[in-house]
């Protein structure tokens, strides 16, 4: 928990972003919500998947 708080508060401070107490509470809640899913996404094995160069989203790949 301490590491999380350090990451959030420290990260914003390093970027020069100010956040009041309420905003920090939202930052913490967002982190709780997103971080586990982000870690899962990063762990997703997509090895061997070729990127689609310049995808045209109006059409099938």
């Amino acid at each position: 928990m301490e590491a999380t708080n350090d990451y959030l508060a420290g990260g914003l401070a390093e970027l020069g972003i100010e956040a009041d107490e309420v905003e920090m509470a939202v930052v913490g809640a967002a982190h709780q919500l997103f971080w586990p899913a982000i870690l899962e996404l990063l762990a997703l094995d997509l090895a061997g998947v070729e990127p689609e160069p310049h995808p045209d989203l109006s059409q099938a790949p």
Binding site: Y7, L12, V26, I38, L41, L42, L46, S58
Partner: protein, 446 residues
């Protein structure tokens, strides 16, 4: 029955035939907004003189003389959009945006601007600089977001058609909560220019919110600048999947959607096929991450340090959190997009449609937008994005259609998705479903 209660196409037909005076129709719409809007807060700006000028100059188009509402997401020549927020992250000015021009050239009369969830950043519509719009089916419930006002305006009978925008479900969620038909066209097919993110977004489209599929076809054709021609849907191969979008769903929603899928199968003489989309849950997060990354364009720490204090704390805090999201995740999200586009293309070799509930539960309370699912209690945003992100991530079209009501009378909706460019098939299928259920759900009014 008031002329305003007739479908969009009938209003247009009656005006074209000289049976309905469009000036009287406009006056009626303005009067109805004045009478009914205080209860639903769907329309946040009217401009009667501008509307009358539009009518006076209206060409003989497919919507000649018909009043419509447009979401607070595009500029008009006399009004800059506010995006439902106390301030926007980039400067905006009044302008003739592409949706405005499409409506104008079709002869439509913009009678008001629709409310929306603050900065388009929510599926419920419960936060707005204008105070939230309210769901006409129960004014203590969320109307859905972010196109909350356009949906509430149509459901409340203020107009028969409204223009929304869909970045991650923002047409489909409010269509579902308000019992309407909402089309998210194929990416790039509908008018977008003039949107403040038009040059950046790979997610957002404009689209229609109407009572039924025929009206959505008419307004959608105007926005797409081409006729979304009607035709027989053929023997539909309807794809269904196992997974949280079909299983972690409130029982009444699941039952109504299963019934609708069977009705659609029977009506079209088609079949229901089980299909698989590996890693589907990752598509929702990938869509969110890409949308977040795109919204960071032009944002600096200095800019974030002078956010308007009237912005909601949720917006302010989340805008700052976005800066901490790892770049590797955004890149992985882009790779997930590549994979999902291929997998979805493969699925559409096997089936014509994918079908699952638009949202897993009916409209939650405005005061606490939480939904109770078999897996537990989730925020509506968490739950809703699961089934909506795929269409925006991959670019495919999707439609939300009403298919029932729960024990409290709140609308239940089914989402249909099709391959790129098959927007017409979605409308054909929606009309087939209406035939199959006797138009029971599209004829319902709050």
């Amino acid at each position: 029955m008031s002329e305003l209660d007739r479908p969009l196409r009938e209003q247009a037909g009656a005006v074209a035939a000289g049976e309905l005076d469009p000036a009287a129709l406009l006056d009626e719409a303005l009067a109805r907004i004045e009478a009914r809007n205080p209860a639903v807060n769907a329309v946040v700006a009217t401009f009667p003189e501008r509307s009358r000028e539009m009518l006076a100059a209206a060409p003989e188009g497919p919507l000649h003389g018909v009043p419509v509402v447009i979401k607070d997401e595009w500029p008009l020549p006399w009004r800059a959009q506010r995006f439902g927020a106390a301030e926007m992250m980039r400067p905006v000015e009044p302008a003739a945006s592409a949706p405005y021009r499409a409506l104008r050239d079709a002869g439509a009369v913009i009678v008001g601007v629709g409310n929306m969830h603050e900065a388009g950043a929510g599926s419920t519509g419960n936060i707005s600089v204008y105070e939230p719009a309210r769901n006409p089916w129960n004014v203590d419930r969320c109307p859905g977001g972010s196109s909350s006002g356009p949906a509430a305006a149509v459901a409340a009978g203020l107009v028969a058609g409204a223009v929304g925008a869909d970045g991650i479900g923002s047409i489909r969620f409010p269509a579902a909560y308000c019992g309407l038909t909402g089309l998210k066209p194929t990416f790039g097919r509908s008018a977008l220019e003039g949107h403040h993110m038009a040059e950046i977004t790979t997610m957002i489209v404009s689209g229609p919110l109407c009572a039924d599929a025929a009206d959505a076809r008419l307004l959608g054709s105007v926005l797409c600048g081409e006729e979304l021609a009607a035709g027989p849907p053929g023997r539909l191969r309807i794809g269904v999947i196992d997974g949280e979008v079909t299983e972690d769903v409130a029982p009444e929603v699941a039952a109504a959607c299963e019934t609708a899928i069977e009705q659609l199968r029977s009506e079209s003489g088609g079949e229901v096929l089980k299909v698989e989309i590996a890693d589907l849950p990752a598509s929702a997060l990938a869509a969110v991450l890409i949308a977040n990354a795109e919204s960071l364009d032009g944002i600096s720490p200095e800019r974030l340090n002078r956010l308007d204090p009237e912005l909601s704390p949720i917006f302010r805090g989340f805008a700052k959190y976005r800066m901490l999201m790892p770049a590797a995740a955004a890149l992985k999200a882009a790779r997930v997009r590549d994979v999902m586009r291929r997998r979805v293309a493969d699925v559409f070799d096997e089936v014509d449609l994918l079908a699952w509930p638009t949202v897993p539960a009916v409209a939650p309370p405005l005061e606490a937008p939480l939904v109770e699912l078999p897996s537990g209690v989730l925020t509506a945003d968490q739950a809703n994005v699961r089934g909506a992100g795929l269409a925006n991530l991959t670019g495919i079209p999707a439609i939300s259609v009403p298919v029932g009501r729960d024990a409290e009378g709140l609308p239940i909706a089914l989402q249909l998705q099709a391959a790129w460019g098959r927007d017409e098939l979605l409308l054909d299928a929606a009309e087939a479903l209406e035939r199959a259920n006797g138009r029971e759900w599209v004829e319902c009014r709050p």
